[in-house]
Amino acid sequence: MPNEILNVVALQKFFFTTQGTVRAVDRVSFSITENETLGLVGESGSGKSTVAYTVVGIYAPTDGKIYFRGEDRSQPVAKRPKSLKRAIQIVFQDPGTSLNPRRTIKQILELPLKVHHLTAGDRKLEVANLLRRVELPADYMYKSPHMLGGGERQMVAIARALATEPKLIILDEPTSALDVSIQAKIINMLIKFQEEMNLSYLFITHDLSLMRNVATRVAIMYLGKICEVAYTAEFFRNPLHPYTKMLLSSIPVVLEEEEELKPTKVISKGEIPSPVNVPPGCSFHTRCPVRKEICMQADPEMVEASEGHFVRCHLVSGQEAVASS
């Protein structure tokens, strides 16, 4: 059994607004083992960032448990010990706003090093070292964030996360705002750091093609719930949930070989409902091309269709029931 780093159990995060209750994350469970990348994929508003913010402690969970290396860490960030804050880091989508524009890169990267009680000279060396690791020139420490390109700012954000020697880094769409030619460099760097530092990643994105190349396992989120999880190769070879199939067949690709890997066209229809008015039963039923009567009434349970491949769909669990009876 590989070392479990993070275990999230029936996590719930609701926002109570004047418009009603936003069921942003509704009983989401997943785990991440050492050195693993879990890709959390979903369309906008599906609750990916809310999961991320709850795991790092920016939000307190409405219900459910977060275990980090076996210990219950469901408490909000203010009550978390420093060591835990250092062990779980987060990198945001927009490197422009996540770095303080009034600070130099040196000041930004020094902050997480403060606990080490280093001398000024040693801190400077350490900052230069961090910059070198993300392949930026040492004299960048005297620049401020707005003088850097989007890709370079994201490298600084990654360097800041690495500075505390974390075990788990949550990457919330780290390359969505960047061009693909820049994305490639950042992704390869992240893969290198993972190997060097034995890191685990919770990698949030809406890009399934990217996850094919980066994730150990892929989880699909829809309206606050996970609807399918599987090991990457299995996930792309044998997608089971109708929503996964719709997503996969909607992806524009560049190669004929990729076209052949897409499931037979599942015509995308309808729009994502609001998380304030989650449809009853299976929340995907309003857009599902294969829905049955039961899908409008009962929310399906997660079942293990094959080893490590979990799906939350009546059509799949129905077959399971038939097969096992």
Partner: protein, 330 residues
């Protein structure tokens, strides 16, 4: 071969800003034939939107200045046209759909108000009030919006991003333009909604026989939407070819780098990408603007700007390494 519907020759556009002059467009040249769907692909800031705004003559001036170039629409240079002629081109000849459908719609007018205004001002024939209303409802139905009558009376904020983009498409096509310019129309949308909008656009332009310039930063999207594709880098067209040829036999080092950097569903990891970043337009590189990032760069590339040169058929490339025979077509 009929005359091109649109022909841009050697277009240079700069912006005067506080820090100096941004020399953005550097000899853009492209052609759209009647009935053709042309893709324009390039990364953020390469000048795609600037080129399109220049066609429609809607670049703010100052700060912009078109220093050189000709833009022929139906064989007449838009830059030489009188104000009312340009107005005609904008209203009846060319329509545009923008990336952000929220900004494109006015929040204080109803969808119906905005749609009927566009139809009334730009229709080729004079229509009755009832005729205009009918045309608007038909346009909303055409973009597959549910309950067009309700949408007609509604306001933009009541619609989702995907529905707003459908309204923008309805407005752009309601005047039956000869050329539709779609500037990243799905970039702000989710992939399943993008899929719906792309299918819709393809159906509609097929039906109406509209010519299209489809702008995107995504090679995957351009592959769905274009017959012929131009690749743009730092204010220059670096390559153009029939879609199938561009994807099977890209020649320009930038096109190749971009192609290999796209994550593939087939897996196998991500290629290294392209070193460096796009140049600063205040002080763009001499010669070929791609040379500081190019593995093939020589003194020649630093000194001179390569011309877009025909390789075969409609495949053209602006690259000295191709001319020198260091990169060969298959």
């Amino acid at each position: 071969m009929p005359a091109p519907l649109l022909k841009i020759e050697d277009l240079h556009v700069e912006f005067k800003v506080y820090e100096g002059v941004l020399r953005v467009l550097n000899g853009v040249q492209l052609i759209v034939n009647p009935g053709e769907r042309v893709g324009l692909v390039g990364e953020a800031g390469c000048g795609k939107t600037t080129t399109m705004k220049c066609i429609l003559q809607i670049l703010p001036s100052p700060p912009s200045r078109t220093t050189e170039g000709r833009i022929f629409f139906n064989e007449r240079d838009i830059r030489q046209m009188k104000a009312h002629e340009i107005q005609d081109v904008r209203g009846k000849g060319i329509s545009m759909i923008f990336q952000d459908p929220t900004a494109a719609l006015n929040p204080v007018f109803s969808i119906g108000d905005q749609l009927t205004t566009v139809i009334r001002c730009n229709s080729r024939t004079t229509l009755s009030k009832k005729g205009i209303h009918q045309r608007a409802i038909t346009a909303l139905r055409e973009v597959q919006l549910p309950d067009p009558n309700r949408i007609f009376d509604g306001y933009p904020i009541q619609l989702s991003g995907g529905m707003r983009q459908r309204v923008c498409i309805a407005m752009a096509l309601a005047t039956e333009p000869e050329l539709l310019i779609a500037d990243e129309p799905t970039t702000s949308l989710d992939v399943t909604i993008q899929d719906q909008i792309l299918r819709l656009l393809n159906e509609l332009v097929d039906e109406h026989g509209t010519s299209v310039i489809f702008i995107t930063h995504s090679l995957g999207v351009v592959r769905e939407m274009a017959d012929r594709v131009y690749v743009m880098y730092a204010g220059c067209i670096v390559e153009g070819a029939e879609k199938s040829e561009l994807f099977s036999d890209p020649l320009h080092p930038y096109t190749r780098g971009l192609m290999s950097a796209v994550p593939k569903l087939t897996g196998g990891g991500i290629a290294e990408g392209i070193p460096g970043r796009i140049p600063d337009y205040l002080d763009p590189p001499s010669g070929c603007r791609f040379h500081p990032r190019c593995p093939y760069a020589t003194e020649e590339c630093k000194a001179e700007r390569p011309e877009l040169t025909r390789i075969r058929g409609s495949h053209e490339v602006a690259c000295f390494a191709v001319e020198r025979g260091e990169i060969n077509a298959q």
